[in-house]
């Protein structure tokens, strides 16, 4: 009960839950307990309305129209760029490129930066806890250009072994691409330190912020990262939209990733000149409604406050961690000192997939599998984990429902 009181002080969860229409439903006749937030977050009504409103009142293609709707749509789209810029404190709108998500953002850098700056026998550094989307784009580049991928190891708590970092850096290292928060372990990586070390060696750093942008405030100028990628749908916005931040100087020097409309200044069959930043990297009609929805999501998150969000989610993690620790045969995977609200675990002799199906029948949505981080699973010598990930709209009742369901599941499967 004590924790309940602490919880009330941070903010009113019930009030916040009312902003999310999807949360108020029964699944298999049980109240939905949505704990799969690291995979995708739910959308507040204000985001859903903004998309609906765009299609109902403003829909049109952007940038080249001279008519009313096109100008209005362009304005909304570009306003969101400013919202994103301010949210991560970029220097200019030129540094904000809209993509389809984190994966697209990383691929853009791998291909474009790779084409310009990476040559045979060069090296790219990633870490052992990367999502496949921060491994495979580099492997493609490695294959194309005969480049080597080097991997910073982790320890048994699921933390980076930073001491090994200096050993990995050589004069051939061209880029370090590192995940800010691990989606399968919850570990918050010391990216400030990584960036500092990298910059001492004149190596640029890409930060995969897919799992951090929704939990903690990010200031790209303070961090001094060179690239930062994230997805809209992990921060309460729509799917199919994401952001790539890049320092203007780098983006300016990089060649276009895709050719097409909107990314050009002038096209003739003899010669084409490219548009200025950020449009150089936005070929074709983008996800206009999605971008506008992302803007609404960021405004919503800001209105609650990332600090409050962080506190509440930390509390949920702490309580849930303590409660699952009491369950016999259960082992938490990912016990880093610094974590976001991700709780990955395995249970002796019970496969995560079976746990997932049983929990579903208790109304509890968790994720089971390798979470697109197979190297992490290999490191811990496990095929998969069960993962509960908490959002600020989760309540203490959700934790209770989760724990009761988990105990019931284990009992049924033992």
């Amino acid at each position: 009960m004590e924790s309940n009181i602490i919880n009330e002080k941070i903010f009113d969860v019930e009030k916040i839950r009312n902003d999310f229409p999807i949360l108020h439903q029964l699944v298999h006749k049980k109240p939905l307990c949505y704990l799969d937030n690291a995979a995708s977050t739910q959308k507040p009504k204000i985001v859903i309305d903004s998309i609906n409103d765009f299609y109902s009142t403003t829909n049109s293609n952007i940038h080249r129209g001279v008519h009313f709707l096109s100008e209005k749509a362009t304005q909304k789209y570009e306003n969101t760029r400013t919202t994103v810029k301010n949210f991560i404190n970029a220097k200019s709108e030129k540094e904000i490129i809209f993509t389809s998500g984190t994966t697209a953002s990383i691929n853009l850098v791998a291909q474009s930066f790779g084409k310009k700056y990476v040559n045979e026998d060069d090296e790219i550094i990633v870490t052992y806890m990367e999502h496949h989307s921060n491994i495979v784009p580099w492997q493609i580049l490695c294959e194309e250009k005969n480049v080597n991928l080097r991997v910073l190891p982790i320890n048994n708590n699921g933390e980076l072994i930073l001491e090994k970092f200096n050993e990995l850096i050589t004069e051939r290292t061209k880029l370090i691409s590192v995940v800010h928060v691990s989606n399968s372990l919850g570990t918050i990586n010391p990216i400030e330190e990584i960036i500092k070390i990298a910059h001492q060696n004149n190596i640029p750093v890409l930060v995969d912020a897919a799992q951090s942008i929704q939990h903690t405030s990010i200031d790209v100028q303070k961090l001094d990262c060179d690239f930062l990628a994230y997805s809209g749908h992990k921060i309460y916005g729509p799917t199919g939209v994401g952001v790539l931040f890049g320092k203007e100087k780098l983006l300016d020097e990089m060649p276009p990733f895709m050719g097409g409309g909107d990314m050009i200044a002038k096209v003739t069959f003899d010669e084409t000149t490219y548009n200025e930043l950020p449009y150089k990297f936005e070929a074709g009609t983008g996800n206009i409604a999605g971008v506008i929805g992302l803007g609404a999501a960021i405004d919503y998150v800001k209105s609650i406050g990332l600090e409050k969000i962080h506190k509440h989610e930390n509390q949920l993690l702490e309580i849930a961690t303590q409660k699952v620790s009491e369950i016999k045969g259960l082992k938490i995977i990912g016990t880093a000192k610094e974590k976001t609200s991700v709780l990955s675990f395995i249970v002796e002799n019970i496969h995560p997939h079976d746990i997932g199906t049983f929990m579903d029948f208790e109304g509890v949505a968790i994720r089971t599998g390798h979470h697109c981080t197979q190297p992490v699973m290999d490191f811990f010598k496990i095929p998969a984990t069960s993962r509960a990930s908490f959002s600020f709209y989760n309540s203490l009742e959700d934790i209770d429902q989760f724990i009761i369901a988990l105990k019931k599941t284990i009992e049924a499967l033992s």
Binding site: H28, H353, A384
Partner: protein
């Protein structure tokens, strides 16, 4: 427990999961194949001893959920002594049963009928089918490891 869930996780399945039949290695198999399900990380190794077109012995090892392990266990006990043609024909019926394609006569499915509940769980069909796909590849001596993707 919910009846749909009970239908999927019948006691027989839980028992096979806990003590699977033919869960061992055949030292010199005439046929062998690895299978894996990238969705959940399940892996299975199937060992066969086929003589004159008849499955004389079969065994498996691997890691997977209760559904995949029970399916492999039941499969191993069913195909032993069958001809290759019979095995393939059972596999076709099994596929139809778990994907809910046809009104399969459950009576005719014998022990395999306990896996009929899978058809209500599209995400688990691959779990139930992995052992079978791997078995067929082993019989056909396909070199590539099986993936359910």
């Amino acid at each position: 427990m919910d009846s749909e869930l009970r239908e999927l996780y019948q006691q027989v399945i839980l028992d096979h999961n806990k003590s699977p039949k033919n869960y061992r290695i055949i030292e010199h198999p005439s046929h062998y194949c690895d299978g894996h399900n990238p969705l959940c990380g399940d892996t299975i190794n199937i060992y066969l001893s086929i003589e004159e077109g008849i499955v004389k012995d079969i065994s498996f090892q691997g890691s997977g959920c209760a559904i995949s392990k029970a399916s492999a266990s039941i499969m191993s006990s069913i195909v032993k002594g069958k001809t290759i043609e019979e095995v393939k024909s059972i596999f076709e019926k099994f596929k139809d049963m778990v994907t809910g394609k046809l009104d399969v006569d459950l009576e005719s499915m014998g022990k395999l009928a306990v896996l009929a509940g899978v058809k209500e769980f599209p995400s688990r069909v691959k779990c139930a089918s992995l052992a079978w796909h791997t078995l067929i590849n082993a019989i056909d001596k396909k070199q590539d490891a099986v993936s359910t993707e």
